[in-house]
Amino acid sequence: MAFAKPSIKRRLVRYVPSITIMVAYSCIPLLGIRGFWLDVLTRANIFALLTLSLDLYSGTTFYLNLGISFIAGSSAYVVALLYRYLGMVPEYSIIPAIAVAIALSTVIFLPSIRVRGVYFSVLSLLLPLIMVSLITSQPLSLYLGGEGGIPLPSLFSSYARMLPPRERIPFLQLTWFYLTTALTIVAAVLSYKLAYSNFGFMLRAIGQDEELAEASGIDTTRVKLLGFLVSSTLAATAGALYAAIRPPVTVDVLIPANTLVPPLTAVILGGMGTIIGPLATNYITIVAYELLWDAIGRWRTIAYMLLLIVLVILKPQGVVFHIYLKLRKAIATKLSSVTWR
């Protein structure tokens, strides 16, 4: 089906809010924000990749990929192990780690991607927990770092050492922030394009009714596998970056409460499959999570879970994306009334 392409003006008007937000976000360090909050935003960028990974596949197909912790954890551990056994620093090990994590997760998940039903979701939840057991118990704990994890130098630390001591940490914080921001922007644009392309609609068709999608000529296994590969690439990138920026690599990266629940909350609260909603929600929830620390301390995890339950039951279609649509419409109406020359 062919739709008439909107005019350049209309397209520009449509993208103005998103482009403004991206530019404004990139300028945050110019406002003098440094230290803890810049670290929080860097972490939010990494979690944004996980959120996009979850939303692109699970938000469209409704096959819950609870194994993003496994994929992210695998690439984080490969980064750490490449340093421990081959002396490879994160600057060089990030890309091989992403490739290994994708290959590993594809081999394990392929049988469950082929069949319908809940097998994929349960298997994806099972994997990270098994990996935690393997890493923390004998004899593998001797090779995989056990509870203490694997130490490694952080990304770009070798360059930072050439600077005067006072400038090292600000340099690293800024570099990490801009690197993760750039990657997140690229990933967000690609995910958005993909989610609303023909391929994205095929994923959504599978989510609505897999049998019907198959009957209408979609090779569902192939589409699911391709969707899974793209989603895994994002999760593996997040894991490798997390390892490189926040060493040492410990089993914390594999525990779903740490690396699955925040993106899952963002996807549900943001609006499944909408990409923009979950992405915005990711930043709101991570900043809110840090602000809540003083108020409710460790109870914040429980607050997250309760929010998740209430949202899933009362607002399964999400909240943030609808607010975004209303805002965009209001801005577009304002801009349309301006005469362009």
């Binding site: 809940v118 979701s121 927990l129 057991s133 039951i313």
Partner: protein
């Protein structure tokens, strides 16, 4: 020969406990059409409740244990009513809500009781079976588990509620045409399976260290057993429990407890590759 006897004996003991736990899991899976990820938390919760009732409320163990089991059943009922029933329209929701409940239970126990494992007192004494010294508590566990399997089978086959559960597990639409209220059946199923998870928890608490996260391991074992045996297949579940129990004990004996955690993963992946409908399950 000693090794083989040990693996056989403890493999069968574990199989019986897995069978009871998996039957409850399979029943909810059949009726709600989705796995209840909070099922493992009921197993942990019952042992923590029994510990709390005996240590802090001063109840005798023979009162604390049944009270804890009934409370686990009540919690399961509440989970079914408040968290599962409203989310049934969207299958993916049940998955998320029950997982969230599991993490809430884990976090609350972590904060209230800490990471130190809870161990309930053992039924005293040892007996010798095949020349192997076995704790009498294991014999009690096996006896109670066998009784529970028999009573569940009679309940499902001989009572009208049991028949209604089987009908709903077969088809929600058809059962409604027969005048069965599937939501009432769901309620009963959650209560019964909560009690089954609770009994397994208090029975195994003296033998295994119960930590707040201890519920995931039996949950995955139950999932592997249900996948291997075929969803909703009683005989398949029995056969799969025996295979699982023996395989797990063999791996524990020869390779250690850490590696044994891979057993459910191995079973699920191999079953999905070779026979996705399970050993005795029907094809799509």
């Amino acid at each position: 020969m000693g090794e083989l006897e040990y693996i056989l004996l403890f493999g069968l003991f574990h199989s019986v406990t897995y069978l009871v736990f998996s039957l409850g899991f399979s029943l909810v899976f059949g009726v709600a059409r989705l796995p209840n990820l909070a099922y493992g938390s009921l197993y942990v919760l019952s042992s923590y409740l029994a510990h709390a009732l005996s240590s802090y409320a001063g109840l005798e163990m023979y009162w604390a244990v049944p009270t804890a089991v009934l409370l686990a059943g009540a919690v399961s009922l509440v989970v079914g009513e408040l968290v599962v029933k409203p989310a049934l329209k969207m299958p993916v929701s049940v998955f998320i809500t029950t997982m969230a409940v599991a993490y809430i239970v884990e976090e609350v126990l972590n904060m209230l009781m800490g990471l130190r494992p809870v161990v309930l007192s053992l039924y005293p004494g040892t007996s010798s079976i095949l020349g192997i010294a076995v704790s009498n508590h294991w014999l009690l566990v096996v006896g109670v588990c066998i009784l529970m399997v028999i009573s569940l089978t009679i309940f499902l086959l001989r009572t009208s509620t049991g028949r209604a559960i089987r009908a709903v597990a077969e088809s929600w639409e058809e059962s409604m045409r027969l005048g069965i209220d599937p939501l009432r059946v769901l309620r009963v199923t959650f209560l019964v399976t909560g009690i089954y998870a609770g009994v397994t928890g208090v029975l195994l608490a003296p033998l295994k260290a119960m930590t707040p996260s201890a519920g995931w391991s039996p949950l995955f074992a139950a999932f592997a057993i249900v996948v291997l045996g075929g969803v909703g297949n009683l005989i398949g579940t029995v056969v799969a429990s025996v295979i699982y129990g023996l395989l797990e004990q063999a791996v524990v004996y020869f390779l250690g407890g850490g590696i044994a955690r891979v057993v459910p993963l191995l079973i699920v992946v191999l079953t999905l590759v070779v026979r996705p409908q399970g050993l005795l399950g029907r094809g799509e």
